[in-house]
């Protein structure tokens, strides 16, 4: 079902506007200021960490830290607290980088995985059945407490939305000032052909709504609560 009226549609716009088509190549967009890049760019890593913590907590996120050695214990504690009967993990090399290989083999409940060859219905059902999901994310934006993640074969879209509770793992070295720095990275990776993804999520705390009398309800369609674990030696 291709559009056969594209030219007519675009010519109509050009005619109504009184401006010729095909001018953009000679007049590319050049932003008039650099506020997106420079805002908070002067903060030290320590200041960004403090800001990330403060802003994550202000959006109802449980903000935790652990080094690689203590990460498994903290995860066990979190999973126990949620009384999780099912656990979903991504198929992602970063779990091993964070020293979690042994933990994955022994954790209770025994995890299911979002599998690259697991099939659409099966992966979605695993996410739907998960009480807790532990996801690997790409960045944490200090200004807004936003985690960012690109969809991969081993960690699909529904992975971040269907489970009831969600825990995000992010290395301390991936804390950036603002969403701009994360977006610059994705833009460059996609354009360089290094990142093949159909979807990037910027997630700022658990799902919420003010649709009933403007009263804030945390936990609507997405996870009803969310924890970030910053891995301090990564």
């Amino acid at each position: 079902m291709a559009s056969d009226n594209r030219e007519e549609f675009l010519n109509n716009i050009a005619e109504k506007a009184g401006r010729p088509r095909h001018q953009l190549a000679e007049h590319p967009f050049i932003p008039l200021n650099d506020l997106p890049e420079t805002t908070l760019a002067d903060k030290t890593p320590a200041a960004l960490f403090d800001l990330a913590k403060q802003n994550s907590q202000s959006i109802h996120v449980t903000f935790q830290t652990a080094d690689t050695a203590g990460l498994a214990d903290l995860l066990n504690q979190d999973i126990q607290e949620k009384e999780a009967k099912s656990l979903l993990l991504p198929t992602d090399d970063r779990l091993a980088e964070y020293g979690l290989t042994n933990w994955m083999a022994g954790v209770t409940p025994s995890p299911t995985y979002w599998e690259p060859t697991g099939g659409r219905e099966e992966n979605i059902q695993r996410a739907q059945n998960a009480d807790v999901a532990v996801g690997c994310v790409d960045f944490l934006c200090a200004e807004s407490g936003t985690i960012t993640v690109a969809t991969t074969p081993g960690q699909g879209r529904s992975f971040h939305f269907l489970p009831t509770h969600y825990i995000a793992l992010v290395p301390k070295s991936r804390i950036v000032p603002r969403s701009r720095q994360a977006m610059d990275w994705y833009d460059e990776e996609i354009k360089a052909g290094r990142l093949h993804t159909s979807n990037i999520n910027f997630i700022t705390g658990p799902s919420n709504s003010g649709d009933i009398e403007m009263v804030l309800v945390v936990g609507v369609h997405g996870p009803i609560d969310m924890s970030y674990i910053v891995i301090t030696d990564q």
Binding site: R6, G156, N199, T204, V215, G222
Partner: protein
């Protein structure tokens, strides 16, 4: 529903809205709460006026080179395997989507909140397909759908006019047996809608921004329903107004930040997503993506003084500062696009015959212009609409024209004007009631006019008018005396 939400005349709608005291209180509360949150978030960001200039520049650049950006975007969607359909009219878009649904034998549709699909009346047309089940999944839209497709009252908070007891009753019809606690009702909606998500074979979303250089769609929500709509069904349909583009992901990031702060006072909404058709190796997301780019009258603004309304990013900040919206709410406007934005846009999309009253539903205080994150001169566009209707289209009533002619004659003829100044105090005697001076009733020249006929009645219906002073005490006489006394001082008298 289409753009128009009612056939009731404007003044009747206004009177009905004025009677709805719950709605008025809810709007006032929302406006005040949003004022605090919005301004605080902008202040914390810093340099807000420079951010506004950047936002305006991005949107103006896109509108200026719109055919080029649309072409680039469509090419990139198609490179990713998606389909693009250019719809000149609402019926073209609806026809394409219903045909697609029939071809794919779609039976269950989930939708995330989208003004433009309301504009083209998509839901009701899709529901004509035998066996079709369609569910609005945004909590507010779900409430409206469940309440016999009630009309939205705000572009960001569509159920502002409903209280928790009314919503509880709506949910009870669906099997809810809990109390009126918003959290409990939201959890019920979560469970209820989750079943639909998991069975859906088509997802329909709007589009906050379409990314020209990558062919991705940017959607901004707080609930997560849009993301589930884009993740679970195998087919996704995106319906977008043709102006809703940005050059690249970087400009989407700028505008998402400005949109969240302006709409709800958040730094970013819970979910900002940038997505397209599934790529090889991924297991969820749409295997078949269709993007419908809609004109439906938008091109009528191009090349006219109204072109800047196409910069709008639908944040609703102009509604949240508008004193008229505060009194009459969304339903008073009779358009799915209410408030100052709607008063400018609706006549362009739907014509002056249907929406010609709206540009007059403004005090022209300019608060909308001041708060707009992309610097649309909203109140000036309202004046421009009035000019077009009065000067070009001669749409004013004959009586108004005669009255204004008489006023023109009176103010343009010195003798007549002098005569009016001599007698206006005495002539208004029969309309005057004597009241003490208050903050609302300053300038007390022996009473106030509490009732006036004809076009002046609109004023006295809601506030008293000051009585003209005696001609010996009016401004001209005062100024003359003042000048004479200055002259006397200068000459030492």
């Amino acid at each position: 529903m289409g753009i128009s939400t009612t056939t009731t005349p404007f003044l009747t709608r206004v009177k009905e809205s004025e009677k709805d005291k719950f709605m008025q209180q809810a709007v006032a509360k929302a406006q005040d709460a949003q004022w605090d949150k919005r301004e605080a978030s902008r202040k914390e960001l810093g340099h807000w006026q420079d951010w506004r200039k950047l936002g305006e520049q991005i949107r103006q650049h896109v509108i200026h080179y719109l055919p080029d950006y649309l072409e680039e975007f469509a090419d990139n969607v198609e490179k990713r395997g998606g389909h693009v359909f250019f719809a000149q009219k609402d019926t073209d878009a609806v026809e394409y989507i219903t045909k697609l649904a029939k071809e794919k034998q779609v039976q269950r549709v989930v939708k995330s909140k989208s003004m433009v699909t309301t504009e083209i009346n998509l839901d009701k047309e899709l529901l004509k397909i035998p066996g079709m089940k369609l569910m609005e999944t945004d909590l507010a839209e779900f409430i409206l759908q469940s309440d016999n497709w009630d009309e939205p009252t705000h572009i960001v908070f569509p159920t502002l006019h409903k209280n928790r007891d009314q919503i509880q009753k709506v949910f009870e019809k669906l099997g809810y047996d809990g109390d009126n606690d918003p959290t409990h009702m939201a959890r019920f909606a979560r469970e209820y809608l989750r079943r639909y998500f998991l069975q859906a074979d088509m997802g329909i979303t709007g589009c906050n921004f379409a990314i020209a250089d990558s062919g991705l769609i940017n959607l901004v929500t707080n609930e997560g329903n849009a993301d589930l709509t884009m993740a679970i069904p195998k087919t996704q349909v995106v319906v977008m107004g043709m102006e809703r583009l940005v050059p690249s992901l970087k400009e989407a990031e700028v505008l998402d930040n400005m949109l969240a702060r302006s709409a709800v006072g958040q730094k970013l909404t819970s979910y900002c997503s940038f997505s397209g058709e599934q790529v090889t190796g991924e297991s969820d997301g749409p295997e078949d993506l269709h993007v419908i780019i809609l004109d439906n009258g938008r091109s009528k603004a191009l090349g006219t003084p109204f072109e800047s309304i196409l910069q709008c990013i639908r944040c609703g900040a102009c509604l949240n500062v508008c004193p008229v919206y505060r009194h009459i709410g969304g339903h008073g406007y009779g358009s799915i696009y209410p408030g100052p934005l709607g008063a400018v846009l609706s006549p362009i999309l739907g014509g002056y015959d249907q929406f010609g009253d709206l540009p007059f539903a403004s005090s022209l205080c300019g608060a909308c212009t001041e708060t707009c994150p992309v610097r649309i001169p909203l109140h000036r566009l309202l004046i421009k609409h009035r000019e077009v209707m009065m000067d070009k289209l001669k749409m004013d009533k004959p009586t108004t024209r005669e009255i204004m002619k008489t006023v023109g004659l009176g103010t343009g003829t010195p003798n007549l004007f002098q005569m009016a100044l001599e007698f206006d105090h005495m002539a208004t005697r029969m309309f005057v009631s004597k009241k003490p001076t208050t903050v609302q009733n300053l300038y007390n020249h022996e009473g106030h006019i509490t009732w006036a006929p004809s076009i002046a009645k609109g004023w006295t219906d809601v506030r008293d008018a000051p009585r003209p002073p005696k001609h010996t005490e009016n401004f001209r006489r005062w100024f003359q005396n003042f000048e004479e006394s200055k002259e006397a001082v200068r000459h030492g008298k």
